[in-house]
Amino acid sequence: MTSISIAHPQTLEAVETTTNGKYAIEVKDLNVYYGDFRAVKNVNLKIERQKITAMIGPSGCGKSTVLRAFNRMNDLVPSARVQGEILFHGHNIYDPGVDSVQVRKWIGMVFQKPNPFPKSIYENVAWGARINGYRGSMDDLVEQALRGAALWDEVNDKLQQSGLSLSGGQQQRLCIARTIAVKPDIILMDEPASALDPIATLRIEELMRELAQQYTIIVVTHNMQQAARVSDYTAFFTMNEDRAGYLMEFGNTSQIFTNPKEKVTEDYITGRFG
């Protein structure tokens, strides 16, 4: 059990919560707008702790928008507006005054294309902890994070080399190490292996299973076999005629991929559309 605080910048009070509930995230009546366009419509969803939840669906169905809403990345889009609630261990991360930087510390993100900083491997991992004022042994933290990301054995003798010198798969694991170095509670992954070759992809998938013993993982993927291989739960999103994305079906991954309840889900996973 971890104690979590989300700093409230106006009052400097902290919202204290603990991570011992069943759900890491509860989404209630989520709508996301870009200007007048409603990109996501009435999503309700519960994300179980220390499980991997995959979000799948055709392009434009809003799954990446929902993922970005989980750590307020949409705040960076000027026209974006969020309605509804996203409860992180019971606290709405969109409550006025909640610090989005704190939210992103607890809820980290790994992107589609590996994006290491043009710095050393060591600095890539240490960076987040350093700006958060980490006071422990940085060497230990870097080693721990690189081990957690299954990269230590490959880079421990070249920590001062540029992160950009690594292969694509290694770079992505470096980004995962960078994310877990700040000890998040949830890791969001947006197509984390789509730029990688099959071997590197399988390594990332194995790593995801290992990370799920400690972290809650939510992954957006277009690769349905990947969703089927790695996830415990699958959320299928699709869109209306007005192009607003919505959650069509949510369930155990084994059920979604062998016997989905909705015909639209069946049509999508069997390649009849999308």
């Binding site: 349905m224 016997n259 069946e266 999308g274």
Partner: protein, 227 residues
């Protein structure tokens, strides 16, 4: 993502199941006809024909495996259908073995006159083949409703089998010299009774493909208890 290749291959596999089914149906009816008419030459042909049924089964199985490997129908209905095709061809191949067994009975009886008129065994064959025909049709068209009701008709085959069984046991008691032939005929009847059970298995697969539910439709292995 284009499904055209997968859809074409699936249609081809289902067509091949119809071919295998017709081989089994003909073999079964011909075997019983040969038994009825003491037609040893025909029985020999049916006995040998089983190798073609086996080859057809392996051919479909191989094509299914290639389709799985190359088209990756690994989700939901697609996956259930591929898995069930493998199951159904195995059932049909075993049914082919039953027809071969009946042909063997004909060869063993030879020209020896029948110890009783063969009426119920051909009836069992006609009923079982009729059920099989409709069951395979339901599998190929994905007709779960038809598949759900066919196994109820298996009682008719079971009743005929029980009747044959009782008659043959009675003959064994009264005519010890007829024991061998009675045993052979019981073997033939038993093969047809088992064929009916396997029709139920095919119906179960059809319902699984359509609904995803695996459910036993009729008790299939308790015939000896009932007898």
């Amino acid at each position: 993502m284009s499904r055209e290749t997968l859809d074409n291959k699936t249609r081809y596999l289902l067509d091949q199941i119809l071919v295998l089914d017709s081989m089994v149906e003909n073999s079964t009816l011909d075997a019983v006809e040969a038994l009825k008419r003491h037609d040893i030459e025909s029985a020999r042909r049916i006995y040998a024909y089983d190798s073609q049924i086996n080859a057809k089964r392996f051919e479909i199985e191989q094509d299914t495996m290639i389709t799985i490997a190359t088209q990756q129908p690994i989700m939901a209905h697609d996956l259930r259908l591929m898995a069930s095709i493998l199951e159904v061809v195995s059932e049909l191949e075993r049914m082919g073995d039953y027809a071969k067994g009946i042909a063997r009975v004909t060869m063993m009886i030879g020209s020896e006159p029948h110890i009783k008129p063969l009426v119920d065994i051909p009836r069992m064959a006609a009923k079982a083949v009729d059920m099989l025909h409709r069951a395979i049709g339901a599998f190929v068209t994905g007709d779960a409703e038809t598949a759900r009701v066919i196994p109820d008709e298996d009682d008719e085959i079971d009743d005929l089998y029980n009747q044959v069984y009782r008659e043959l046991v009675a003959i064994m008691f009264t005519k010890p010299a007829a024991i061998d032939q009675a045993n052979y005929l019981m073997w033939a009847a038993h093969n047809l009774e088992r064929l009916g059970d396997r029709v139920s298995n095919i119906c179960e697969r059809t319902i699984y493909v359509v609904t995803g539910q695996l459910k036993e439709l009729a008790a299939s292995d308790d015939q000896m208890d009932k007898s």
